[in-house]
């Protein structure tokens, strides 16, 4: 592997995360080390309770390690203050959640522009422009002014993905992003993620579904807070092909 030529976006060095629950200590992460390079599409898998969400919270700078170091885009996160981490999330990270988490009664454009509201470098016009571009990238150019309650689950997740893209982040983090969607819509999301991957974006995708690993470029298996397997997928399947192979729904 030509590791040295590629830019490291994320580097974990023996990251541990302990939770104090009453008198007991839960070791959710027990020494995780890896590097993720620019342009990788990494799936993180593991049984329930294996520490996937805890790891993703670390990567998303929502939490800090009990021990170990985390470098995001070359910046050490562990020693940062809360508001420094907020700024880092704002500039370098895009989140996609299982339950979309859109603002209620708010248009797609305004939802997508939300992260830019916390970046004073953008004025209203630039925010709108960036939001429209992101919505175009996820195929929602015709739904700009639709409110969140007027959209389907797939459309809402597309808006959420657009929101994750709008700040041009160093990495997109998705936790069970297809968990609430039916098979067909899940594949549509995968097509979208593969498209973003092809455009050179770095994506980390937490999932329960082992099939999804076939569509990513690398798969990390967690068990009991440790990495059990870390495999590079040299034979990436096309989500578009899988989608085309699905039986066509009658009501489409």
């Amino acid at each position: 592997m030509s590791e040295d030529n590629r830019k490291v976006v994320i580097e974990l060095q023996d990251v541990r995360r302990d939770f104090q629950v009453g008198s007991e200590v839960v070791h959710a992460l027990r020494g995780i080390s890896f590097k993720i390079y620019e342009g990788e599409f990494v799936t993180i898998m593991g049984t329930s309770g294996s520490g996937k969400s805890t790891l993703l919270n670390q990567l998303g700078c929502l939490d800090t390690p009990t021990k170990g170091e985390y470098y995001l885009d070359g910046v050490a996160v562990r020693t940062m203050s809360k508001s420094q981490r907020a700024k880092l999330r704002n500039r370098k990270i895009g989140f996609v959640f299982q339950s979309y988490n859109l603002l209620a009664k708010t248009t797609a454009v305004d939802n997508v522009a939300l992260p830019l509201m916390y970046n004073t470098k953008y004025n209203a016009r630039q925010r709108r422009e960036a939001a429209i571009n992101a919505l175009k990238a996820v195929g929602l150019a015709d739904r700009l002014e639709h409110k969140s309650n007027q959209m389907s689950g797939g459309q809402m997740q597309r808006v959420a993905i657009a929101r994750a893209l709008v700040n041009d982040p160093a990495v997109i983090l998705a936790d069970e992003a297809t968990g609430n969607l039916d098979t067909r819509t899940s594949y549509e999301m995968l097509v979208l993620f593969q498209k973003l991957h092809a455009e050179g974006r770095t994506i980390i995708f937490v999932t329960h579904n082992p099939e999804i690993a076939q569509y990513s470029s690398r798969n990390i298996m967690l068990r009991d807070g440790k990495i059990r397997e870390d495999t590079v997928n040299t034979n990436i399947k096309s989500a578009q092909a899988a989608l085309d192979a699905l039986p066509v729904a009658n009501d489409d």
């Binding site: 998303g60 809360k82 508001s83 907020a86 988490n101 009664k105 708010t106 004073t120």
Partner: protein, 404 residues
Amino acid sequence: MSFLNLIKVAITAIASNAFRSFLSMLGIIIGVAAVIIMMAIGQGSKESIRAEISKMGTNIITIRPGAERRGGVRLDPSAMRTLKMEDYESIVREKKYVTYVSPEVTASGQCIFGAKNTSTTMYGEGIEYLDIKQWTLEDGEYFTDNDIKKGSKVCVIGKTVVNELFDGADPVGKNIRFKSIPFKVIGVLKSKGENSWGMDQDNLLIAPFTTVMKRLNAQTHLSTISCSAITEELTDNAIDELTEIIRRNHKLADGVENDFRISSQAEMMDTMSSTMDTITVILVVAAAFSLLVAGIGIMNIMLVSVTERTKEIGLRMSVGARGIDISNQFLIESIMISLTGGVLGILLGWAGTLACEPLGLPTSIPAWSIFVSFAVCTVIGVGFGYFPAQKAASLDPIEAIRYE
């Protein structure tokens, strides 16, 4: 987030819960309206009393007997006889800051004309009394120096007495009886109506003080000496001057208490104003308590709002909102609720003030009460919004975003 965006977010949040926001504003609206109305009534009453008093002449000074001790017992002022004709004469001789002086004795009793009678008070006065009071005659004339010298049985009468006794006939030149003594009516005073304490100022007779002293009361002391200072500003100088003259006349040694009391209309005005101020303060404080309750209402709604929007807070944090952004968002929201309530309250208070006028309550909205209302509403918004805002800002983003 920029201030403008914070305001937009707050408006959206308030509008999306319009009715609930209105209910939490209601406390502020009612509280502010109450404060405005109370202040307006307080200020209005004060102004009308001031106008009343200054109509009566703000430069009037009254000297009465008083503070006389005999063997350590303080006597009833009306029973005291310390004011003498000599005091009046000395004042007339020496006055520098005083324009007009009039000695005064009074007698109350029945006044009869033909078959009608009424009870009234006869004021025995000097020649300058009308000038002091700034009263004028409507008909006839005032008595002369000569009448005073002779102790003539003539009088000028007030409108109430005219109405009670004369039934439309012209009173000038008629003879009436006061306490069985015949008096010739030589003039009628112009009506002055009631004063602000509801006292009828037209139920009186004015006769030469010599007549009242000798023929009615058989007294040698005076009950009052009325004076007018040259101007209202010189009232204090006039009081000093009068005090000095009378103390010398009464041969009071240094350190001995005055055996008379001097009061001025201006002083009375101050007393009345400060009484009105006290009443106003009590009313306003009572109204202000409703603002405190309203503030607690806002805090309650904001706490509910923070809990309801936990997920939204978590999302905002995950896309880069700092604690301060979140706390500003909720703080601005509570300030907006409180200020909007304040504006509506001012309008309601203004309307309420207008509604008070037909009820006969004098009102006048002091401009500062509006500024104070704004300031208080801002303080309420910040004060009662602070805790909910802090609570929102201190949420853990991971837990908040998972909150259902």
